[in-house]
């Protein structure tokens, strides 16, 4: 019998709702499901919403009865917001969030580096927005609840997953006992401590770092803008690093590294937390500021990934698939990209529109992304929390030099999470004009957003299926292309045509964007009529042409959906 707590979690700023458990006796006996998603965090819920967008139903299992304890993920990148826009929750994120683009690094009381993240006029979203994870989960959950294709089950804990021939059998525990659930596919989105990963004995590859960090959320009134603050080697915590972020609702996140040898238990004692947070506030000029603790936890940096996310009928995603350091906001932001990718790849397999090669491609693309992130995050981590010896010495030398020598200061800029370009994806077209373009997003790249008008951006018009951007000022899409498009649709491929460059609606296009000033054509490197881009359902580019013809369109469509 699984008895999740019915006591609402404590929080200064968030009122937890305790949901009713889903009980098997109150529902008809389950038939074989198409997809069961284990875990209702950001990865699980975005996967469910993406699947539903493509018409695929899923069951989402949460072992708890409420959203996550504490703020956890707080910084969401532009690409995350673009993904959340696709599943319909970006407006709510924007309403409650604090956007920002500047970061400051301090050493010996001097600001030695200021990061200024670019904010292009063509972008709808800021480089980063701060929202506490409970709110983000609430927004996603509301979207799931409103979707008839998503069967959300609170208080359902997965005990066991057995791989069968072509499906998986789950043993699920609830407050009234066990039931069995069969599913063609199981998405393991059960977090960094994934029970499914452990039970399947899957080894992750990569490194773990020694330093521990305390993460504490405090309510405090500080007259400071929403900018990231990083303090290196301060007097109160010699050799170690402290990070601060403003969160909505009067909350500040304070992360500080523990002195070597101190255990997490010691660090989380109230008197220890109090002394250190007081010292940090004093150091930034707010000695004696009144504050109240909301939530605290301990964290250590790891850069680990499964080498393959697909195992039989079980697919790992988000933290269950990889563990990434906080430096560079890589946890939830990577999970959103995983889930967006998994959603469409799996949906197309479930619907029989592509073969299981699609899942192999999903795994190859996202493992590649995880490895790229691990490489970059490893650099950041070796600077933020350097291993003893050479790395410690180099980091300290850079701190010291940075007071007077500008050339070392860019080393303070730890790279922030960014979308991975699937440059070598098997879905990219071989016979297109990718290499001939002088500018614009290339093979595998995420799309370039473009401002079309007041509160109107290119990405508002893309997604949910394949999109063909066709650049023309003529009144119709050439007949041969229309024929190819119709036959792809007749085989079930969701394919929308967006004509760009005509003031009048273009015949054969689903939408026409006038692009009166030619700005969209310019950003996409289109010199003349007849150019085109093919975008996947996750909006990444898989083909582009200076002059599109029906034969090459057909070839690209075949490549994009391997059979």
């Amino acid at each position: 019998m699984h008895t999740p707590t019915t006591q609402a979690r404590p929080s200064i700023y968030y009122t937890y709702e305790v949901f009713k458990p889903w009980l098997p006796s109150e529902h008809p006996q389950p038939t074989r499901q198409k997809v069961v998603i284990v875990g209702a965090g950001p990865a699980g819920m975005v996967t469910a919403l993406e699947l539903a967008r493509h018409g695929v139903p899923s069951v989402v299992l949460s072992s708890e009865l409420q959203f996550s304890q504490g703020s956890r993920a707080i910084c969401f990148t532009r690409r995350s917001m673009e993904i959340l826009q696709q599943v319909g929750v970006a407006d709510r994120m924007t309403e409650g969030g604090l956007p920002w683009r500047f970061g400051n690094s301090y050493y010996r009381g001097q600001r030695v580096f200021r990061m200024e993240a670019p904010h292009d006029a063509d972008d709808r979203f800021f480089p980063i927005i701060n929202v506490q994870q409970q709110f983000m989960e609430e927004y996603l959950h509301d979207a799931c609840k409103a979707n008839p294709l998503i069967d959300f089950r609170w208080g359902n804990k997965v005990n066991q997953v057995a791989q069968k021939d072509g499906y998986a059998l789950l043993e699920v525990d609830t407050p009234e006992g066990l039931y069995a659930l069969e599913s063609n596919w199981v998405v393991a989105a059960d977090g960094g401590r994934s029970g499914i990963r452990t039970a399947m004995n899957l080894e992750m590859e990569g490194a773990s770092y020694e330093g521990f960090f305390v993460i504490a959320d405090i309510k405090v009134d500080l007259p400071l803008p929403t900018e990231r603050l990083a303090y290196f080697d301060p007097d109160w915590n010699p050799g170690n690093t402290i990070l601060m972020h403003r969160e909505p609702n009067g909350i500040w996140r304070v992360d500080y590294q523990l002195p070597e040898g101190e255990t997490p238990e010691e660090a989380l004692k109230p008197e220890s937390l109090k002394a250190r947070i007081d010292a940090q506030l004093a150091m930034i000029g707010h000695a004696g500021a009144k504050w109240e603790m909301d939530w605290s936890s301990v964290y250590s940096a790891r850069t680990l990934t499964l080498p393959d996310f697909v195992h039989g009928n079980v697919i790992f995603t988000g933290d269950a698939a990889h563990l990434l350091p906080i430096f560079g906001v890589r946890g939830a932001n990577t999970a959103f990209q995983d889930a967006q990718s998994l959603g469409w790849h799996l949906a197309f397999v479930v619907k029989g529109l592509g073969s299981q090669k699609l899942l192999a491609n999903h795994s190859a693309e996202r493992v590649g992304a995880a490895r790229e992130i691990i490489d970059e995050a490893g650099k950041s981590t070796r600077f933020m929390t350097p291993p003893a010896g050479g790395f410690q010495l180099l980091r300290d030398a850079v701190l010291s030099l940075s007071l007077t020598q500008a050339f070392v200061r860019p080393l303070y800029h730890w790279r922030t999470s960014r979308p991975h370009a699937y440059t070598h994806s098997i879905l990219n077209s071989a016979g297109d004009d990718n290499g001939l373009f002088k500018t614009g997003p290339a093979h595998g790249a995420p799309p370039q957003n473009v401002r079309l008008g007041a509160n109107d951006f290119l990405l508002d018009h893309l997604g949910g299926g394949f999109d063909l951007l066709y650049f023309t000022d003529a009144s119709f899409i050439p007949e041969a292309l229309q024929h190819t498009i119709h036959s792809a649709r007749a085989q079930g491929m969701p394919l929308r045509v967006i004509a760009v460059g005509s003031a009048q609606p273009v015949e054969g296009a689903d939408t026409t964007l006038a692009d009166a000033d030619g700005h969209l054509r310019e950003r996409y490197g289109i010199p003349a009529n007849g150019g085109a881009y093919l975008l996947r359902p996750d909006q990444h580019i898989c083909a582009r042409w200076l002059t599109l013809d029906a034969t090459r369109l057909q070839a690209a469509l075949n490549t994009a959906l391997p059979q």
């Binding site: 180099l394 030398a397 850079v398 010291s400 030099l401 020598q405």
Partner: protein, 64 residues
């Protein structure tokens, strides 16, 4: 490592020898490594070549 055309003269080399030795003493035992790493980074930046720096690293690692 062969002598580059812009190598130090004997007298400049002697000046560097003395000044480096004195600076290591001035930094003190606790801070001499830190001092030397700072110096290496400054020199590497002035070299403007990661390849040349890499060759220096290999040469300095020999016969320790």
């Amino acid at each position: 490592m062969t002598n580059a055309p812009n190598a130090l003269t004997i007298s400049d080399l002697e000046t560097v020898y003395d000044s480096l030795a004195s600076a290591i003493d001035q930094a003190g035992q606790d801070k001499s490594s830190l001092f030397l790493v700072k110096l290496a980074l400054l020199n590497a930046n002035a070299l403007a070549s990661a390849d040349v720096f890499q060759a220096h690293v290999q040469a300095a690692l020999q016969d320790l």
